[in-house]
Symmetry: C2
Subunit: 411 residues, 2 copies
C-alpha cells in the first residue's frame, strides 16, 4: 500500500517532530535540559489522585458509571466547578458555555476543524505555540501575523489579503498570559486593542489560557474573554473562545481541559467531539472534579512557590553568565524564558553543538515561527530543572555562546 498517496501533509508539523526526535535521542542523564515544556512531576498531587480514584471507584452505584460511556459535553459537576472558576476570573457563564476537551490541545484541533477551510487565514503571533500550528496545519490555513495597532495592517487590509489569498479570515489565536514560547504577557490595553482588531476583522479570537493560573509577579490582568464580555454584554455575544486546562495546575496525564465560549459555538464543539471521540475519559473527569474541589487553590500555590524560585534562578543565571549581545524576556509567570542571540548565531546549530560539547538542551526558537524566521532565538524551560541545574546549565550555555561570539569576531 502506498501511503504516500494519502494526505501526508495532514500528519502534523514534521519540523517539530524532527527536533523532538533529536531531543529524545539526547535524553540522557548527564544532559542538563531546558528543552521540555512539561510540569515537574514531583509536584503532582499523586496521593490525592490515588484517593480520588479509589473514592470514585469505591462508591456504590458510582464506580461502574465512572467506567461507562458518558455525554460529549462532559461531566456536569466538573463543568459546574469550571463555571465557578471562570466566575472567579470575571467570566459570568453557565454550564452550557462549557465543553470538556482532552486537554486544551484537543480544543485547538476541534476549533481548527470547525473554523478553518483550506486557504483561509489564521492569525497567529510570531513566535506562537508550536502545538497550535500543529493542530491547525491539517486544515491547511494560510498563516498571517497577528499584528494590530500602529504600523500594522488595518483589519480591512488583513481581510483584503485573506481574500486575495483565496480564503477568508478564519480565526485569531493568542496566548495572552506568559505565552509559550516567549513568557510574555499582553497588557490590558493591548488586549483591548486586540479585541477591537479581531472585531473589525470579524473573526473569533481563540484565547489559550493554559498558563493563566501560574503568575509569580505583577497583578492579574482580565482575560480577553472577560474584557470582551464587558464590551458586548454577555458571553453568548462574545467572539472569544477560551481554552482552559488542568494540565499545568493539577496534572496533564488525565487529559482534561475545557472550552468556555458562546453556547452556539459550544454546541458545535460538542457535536464535533461526539463525532471525533465520543467524550473524554469519564473516570478522569470525575476524579478531576474531586481534585479541583479539594485541592485546586493549595496546589496552584504550591506550584507557584517552586516555579517562581526557578524563574528567579534562571533570570539571575542569565544576568550573571550571558555575554553581551544576548537578551531575554522576564516573564511574570508560566514556564518559559525566551532568549534572542546575536543575529549570526543559529539556534538549531547551537543546539547540536551544545548537546555535543556542553551537554545542555533547549528548543531552537525557529520552530515557533510559521514563516521560517527566528533562527537566532531559543526557548528555555524552567518548570522542570532544579535551581542547581539551572545555574550550571546556563553557565555552560553562556560559555558556548561566548566562544561562538569570539569565533565570529576572529573570523
Amino acid at each position: 500500500m502506498d501511503w504516500k498517496g494519502a494526505y501526508a501533509h495532514r500528519a502534523g508539523a514534521m519540523r517539530a517532530s524532527e527536533i523532538r526526535e533529536l531531543l529524545k535521542l539526547l535524553d540522557q542523564p548527564d544532559v542538563l535540559s531546558f528543552a521540555g515544556g512539561i510540569p515537574d512531576p514531583t509536584l503532582f498531587p499523586t496521593e490525592a489522585a490515588r484517593e480520588a480514584y479509589g473514592a470514585v471507584l469505591g462508591e456504590p452505584g458510582v464506580g461502574p458509571l465512572s467506567l461507562q460511556y458518558s455525554i460529549s459535553e462532559g461531566y456536569v459537576p466538573l463543568r459546574r466547578w469550571i463555571v465557578a472558576h471562570m466566575a472567579s476570573r470575571g467570566v459570568v457563564c453557565d454550564e452550557e458555555n462549557i465543553v470538556i476537551t482532552s486537554g486544551s490541545q484537543q480544543g485547538l484541533d476541534y476549533l481548527g476543524k470547525l473554523l478553518i477551510s483550506p486557504g483561509d487565514s489564521a492569525y497567529v503571533t510570531r513566535p506562537t505555540y508550536l502545538g497550535a500550528l500543529q493542530a491547525f496545519n491539517p486544515y491547511e490555513p494560510r498563516y498571517a501575523d497577528l499584528a494590530f495597532g500602529e504600523g500594522a495592517p488595518t483589519p480591512a487590509q488583513c481581510r483584503e489579503a485573506a481574500l486575495a489569498a483565496g480564503g477568508r479570515p478564519a480565526l485569531a489565536y493568542v496566548v495572552p498570559d506568559f505565552a509559550n514560547p516567549t513568557g510574555e504577557t499582553l497588557s490590558r490595553e493591548d488586549r483591548l486593542r486586540l479585541l477591537e482588531h479581531v472585531s473589525a476583522l470579524g473573526v473569533p479570537l481563540v484565547e489559550d489560557a493554559a498558563y493563566a493560573a501560574l503568575r509569580y509577579a505583577g497583578a492579574d490582568i482580565a482575560s480577553c474573554l472577560a474584557l470582551d464580555i464587558a464590551r458586548v454584554g454577555d458571553i453568548d455575544h462574545s467572539r472569544v473562545i477560551y481554552c482552559g486546562s488542568f494540565s499545568k495546575t493539577i496534572a496533564p496525564g488525565l487529559r482534561v481541559g475545557w472550552i468556555c465560549a458562546a453556547r452556539d459555538l459550544v454546541q458545535k464543539v460538542v457535536l464535533t467531539k461526539q463525532a471525533a471521540d465520543l467524550h473524554s475519559a469519564t473516570i478522569n473527569q470525575m476524579v478531576m472534579h474531586r481534585l479541583a474541589e479539594a485541592i485546586y487553590d493549595e496546589q496552584v500555590k504550591k506550584i507557584i512557590g517552586v516555579y517562581a524560585a526557578r524563574r528567579d534562578a534562571l533570570l539571575a543565571a542569565l544576568a550573571k553568565f550571558m555575554p553581551e549581545g544576548v537578551s531575554w524576556t522576564a516573564p511574570e509567570g508560566g514556564m518559559f524564558v525566551w532568549v534572542t542571540l546575536p543575529a549570526n548565531i543559529d539556534g538549531a546549530e547551537l543546539l547540536a553543538e551544545s548537546l555535543r560539547d556542553e551537554r545542555v538542551a533547549f528548543v531552537p526558537g525557529g520552530a515557533f515561527f510559521f514563516d521560517g524566521s527566528g533562527a537566532n532565538t531559543l526557548r528555555l524551560n524552567f518548570s522542570l530543572p532544579s535551581e542547581a541545574v539551572i545555574n550550571e546549565g546556563i553557565a555552560r550555555l553562556a560559555r558556548l555562546i561566548a566562544r561562538k561570539n569570539n569565533q565570529f569576531r576572529a573570523a
Copy 2:
C-alpha cells in the same frame, strides 16, 4: 458573533443527534429500552479497576509519571500486550505497528483526516456504523456502497464513478464481526472477495473490530488484516487498518482503543494524534495494561455468558411474538439484532408511537444509511436489557406492529 458563518456542517451528523435527543427525553424508568449501544455496567471489572488505579498511583516513581505527559504512540507495555493479543488472532506485528487511540472512534476520526479530502469516495455498507459516518462527515466524502462480487460495480467502475464525482477513491470501511447495526458477520469467503475488491480499487480497508471478541456461537473467522497479511506477506505491506477497542470487553469510560496497521501508516497516525490531542490519558493506558494482563480472558468469558443468554432471549421473543412480515438477523455475537419491518411501516414513526403507547425504545434503522434508505428497519440492542425486559419489551413492540399491520390491511 455569527457562528453560522463557520463550517457548521463539520459538526457531525445532526440527524443522529436529533434521534439521540428524542431518546434522551424518554430516558425514563418505565421505558423498556433496546436503544442503547452500550455495555452493561454491572459487568465492568470495577473492583479490579480500583485496585489497578491504586497500584499504579501507589508505586514509588511510577505514580507521578502516570499523571505526566507521555508519548503520542501510547504506553509501550500496553502496546506490547496488544502485539501478543493480535498474534493470538493470527496477526504478526510489533509495537511499531500499534498506536493507542482514545477509543476506536478516535481512530476513525484520524483516519478520516489522513485519508479523505472533500469529494473523495468513502465506501461503506448500507447500513453501516453511524459513528463512522459521523467521524468521516467533517472531511466531506462522497459515500458509495461497499458492494463487491457478482452484480456489483467492478473496481474499475467504482474508480470511474469516484473520479467523475470530482475526487478519488479514499477508503473502504467495514465492521466484519457482528456489525453495528446489523449483527451480521462477513464469511471468510466474503472477506477474501472484499480484499480482492479493495486491492483492485487501490484503497485502504478500515476494519472496525470493536465487537470481534464477543462471539456467542459459531467458529472464529480470521480478521481481514490476518487474511490480507497471508495474501501480501507481512503487515507492513497490508492495506488493512485494524481498529481495536477495550470499550466492549473491559470498559469504555477509560477511552482506550488502538490501531494496528503498516508502520508507515501508524507513523502518520502518531503525528496526527500528536497534533490533535498529544496522547491518550497516561494513567488510563497504564491501568488498562494491568487490567488486560490480569483479567482480559476471564472478563470476556463473563460478558459472553451474560450477553449470549440475552441474545437467545431476544431471538426467542422475536420468534414468539412478532407478526408475519417481520424478519430479523440471528447474530453470532456482538450487541445488536437488526429487524426489517413490512415496507409500509416507518421506523421513526414507529418509535414515536412505541414510546407513547408501549413505552418501548429502539433506534430507527434509517440513521445507519448514508443514502436515506432503510426507513422500515430498526436496531435492537441486547447487551443492556435483562431477559425479563427483553421478553416484555418485544411482546409490546410486536403488539404495536401487529396493530399497525391490521390498520394498513383495514385501510
